[in-house]
């Protein structure tokens, strides 16, 4: 069982901010000290580039960099050649959208859903507009995307299906198994946005059997500025490289006329990568595995149940996702705008911020879910992670009632 109080000791953020109640890990998680120390070590002890030059130090760092890739590959049950480092989930998805343009035919279509984060919707909307092909949007049914509705949208002209694994407002998990059977049958590509899944549960990419899977390190105890993009080896040859430059090319092959690309993962990692971040993220993955992904998932589900139980006693709180197994709580306080609840003004200094309770307000970069699924202009989201405990929830609930009393 997870002991959040022990885990809190791993994070200097809590020492430096003793009253912090951090309930915004779905936006970005905190980073344990050992991960920060790894970044420091790289800069202070063995700063050098990778795969360039032949010094002992450079070789060591190259080995560590590839070691990190291996750790991450093992974690997701896949081969290191299928793990590509990018800047973020956003960059990963945009890159894929550009690397398949040449595969578009006049009758192609792309399948997405109306519960995607903007980063898994806008690149596809743009691609469809610019190439004059159909964008098929699967609509949520009872606040979740049903795999059957996705399957019904896919046909032999579908180029790619782009779908979240866990949604970033509601927190529901999409059942990907039947979807991937269909995409594999029809030889359609499947991209899964795992930004909200990978931090919270065991993700087995062999089992999921998709073509692309995206992760943001900063949401899972890792550094900012690093994304992991899984590219199934079976599609590598179909894709255009994202960028052209150093390290993605066999150096001696470059002539005035042509060059030879390396194979994956190098093909997709032109230029000097985020070395410190990659090394650090290997440490994050080890850290999470030491706690155990199943333990993490159970902890979040249990703490959410505790929260829902308390919140449902407040009849002025509207909860949108009481029942699903996630660490996300999407809610509104009746009669109180999210802005008034969150941020201090000269009218009220009783807000979440005033008690160092960090949650998220607004549209969470997902206006489709807000507008078409929840039909709300804005809401509040508390998100639970490994370091959260009952006290964080108690403080949240008590502040909600204080805020309500200011405005009722």
């Amino acid at each position: 069982m997870i002991n959040p109080n022990k885990i809190k000791n791993d994070f200097s953020m809590f020492k430096n901010n003793p009253s912090l109640k951090y309930l915004d890990s779905a936006a970005t998680s905190l980073t344990p000290d050992i991960v920060v120390e790894q970044i420091n070590d790289y800069y202070k002890k063995y700063r050098s580039s990778i795969n360039r030059g032949t010094s002992k130090m450079a070789n060591d760092v190259s080995r560590k960099y590839e070691g990190s890739r291996k750790t991450i590959a093992n974690h997701f049950n896949t081969d290191p050649s299928e793990i590509i480092f990018t800047k973020s989930t956003t960059t990963s998805i945009n890159n894929i959208s550009k690397s398949i343009i040449h595969l578009i035919k006049p009758n192609s279509n792309i399948v997405v859903t109306n519960m995607e984060h903007h980063s898994n919707f806008l690149p596809w909307q743009v691609l469809c507009h610019e190439n004059n092909i159909e964008l098929r949007v699967v609509k949520a049914n009872h606040l979740e995307i049903k795999s059957k509705d996705v399957i019904d949208m896919i046909d032999e002209n579908t180029l790619i299906v782009c779908i979240h694994h866990v949604s970033n407002i509601i927190g529901n998990t999409v059942d990907l198994s039947e979807i991937s059977v269909k995409t594999n049958d029809l030889d359609v590509m499947l991209l899964v946005d795992g930004a909200q899944a990978a931090p919270h549960k065991k993700v087995d990419l062999k089992k999921i059997n998709c073509d692309f899977y995206t992760v943001s390190a900063h949401k899972m105890c890792g550094p900012t500025g690093l994304g992991v993009l899984y590219i199934n080896n079976r599609v590598v040859n179909k894709l255009k490289a994202f960028d052209y430059g150093g390290d993605m090319v066999t150096p001696s092959s470059v002539t005035y006329e042509s060059f030879l690309q390396k194979s994956s993962p190098n093909k997709f990692e032109a230029g000097t990568p985020s070395i410190a971040e990659v090394l650090a993220f290997g440490v994050s993955i080890d850290y999470l595995n030491k706690i155990g992904m199943d333990q993490i998932e159970n902890h979040e589900i249990k703490l959410k149940k505790y929260a829902i139980n308390k919140l449902s006693k407040l009849d002025y709180v509207k909860i949108y996702n009481s029942n699903n197994n996630s660490g996300l709580i999407a809610f509104n306080i009746n009669g109180v705008s999210v802005h008034d609840a969150m941020s201090e003004s000269f009218i009220s200094d009783i807000t979440f911020d005033s008690e160092d309770i960090i949650i998220r307000d607004g549209q969470m970069c997902n206006n489709l879910t807000m507008k078409y699924v929840l039909k709300e202009k804005a809401l509040l989201r508390a998100s639970i992670y490994i370091y959260n405990d009952k006290n964080d929830i108690d403080m949240l609930v008590s502040q909600i009632s204080k805020i309500y009393n200011v405005w009722r």
């Binding site: 705008s337 999210v338 802005h339 008034d340 941020s343 003004s345 000269f346 009218i347 202009k377 804005a378």
Partner: protein, 145 residues
């Protein structure tokens, strides 16, 4: 009552019992109107004005959002009704100064001075100004957006 508390009370009153706020306008074609959004927090206002001989003879708004946005909309309608375009523009300009902590003509305003405190909360500037800004663009001739 301390000045801040008084301001707070007046703003709360306008928030809870807004003036000239409607849920819909039936005879839209008699008005100039424009919608504005505060994307960060979901504030949304639509302002309607009736201009006769360069005078704002009627002003209404539809809105939802935070206390500052809604009360500022209510106070704005009171401050700008029956003003000429020039007077309205002058007031809007001075209100902008008022909420950003720049010297302004205090004699121009009644309830609007309650918003002086906004100068210390720049994150809420947009909430306070959104409805005023909309009138400014309406009298300039932008409409039906």
């Amino acid at each position: 009552m301390e000045k801040n508390n008084l301001s707070r009370q007046i703003i709360m009153d306008h928030y809870k019992y807004p003036h000239n706020k409607v849920s819909e306008i039936i005879n839209r074609d008699e008005y100039l109107f424009k919608k504005a959004l505060n994307p960060s927090c979901g504030d949304e206002v639509e302002v309607f004005i009736k201009l006769e001989n360069n005078i704002i003879t009627d002003i209404k708004y539809i809105g939802s959002g935070c206390s500052i946005c809604c009360s500022s909309g209510s106070i704005m309608t009171e401050e700008l009704i029956n003003k000429s375009i020039n007077e309205a523009n002058n007031k809007i300009e001075n209100f902008n100064k008022l909420i950003t902590g720049v010297n302004y003509d205090i004699n121009l305003f009644e309830d609007a001075i309650c918003f002086e405190g906004i100068k210390n909360y720049p994150a809420r500037y947009k909430c306070a100004f959104i409805s005023w800004e909309t009138v400014k663009s309406l009298v300039k001739g932008d409409k039906h957006e």
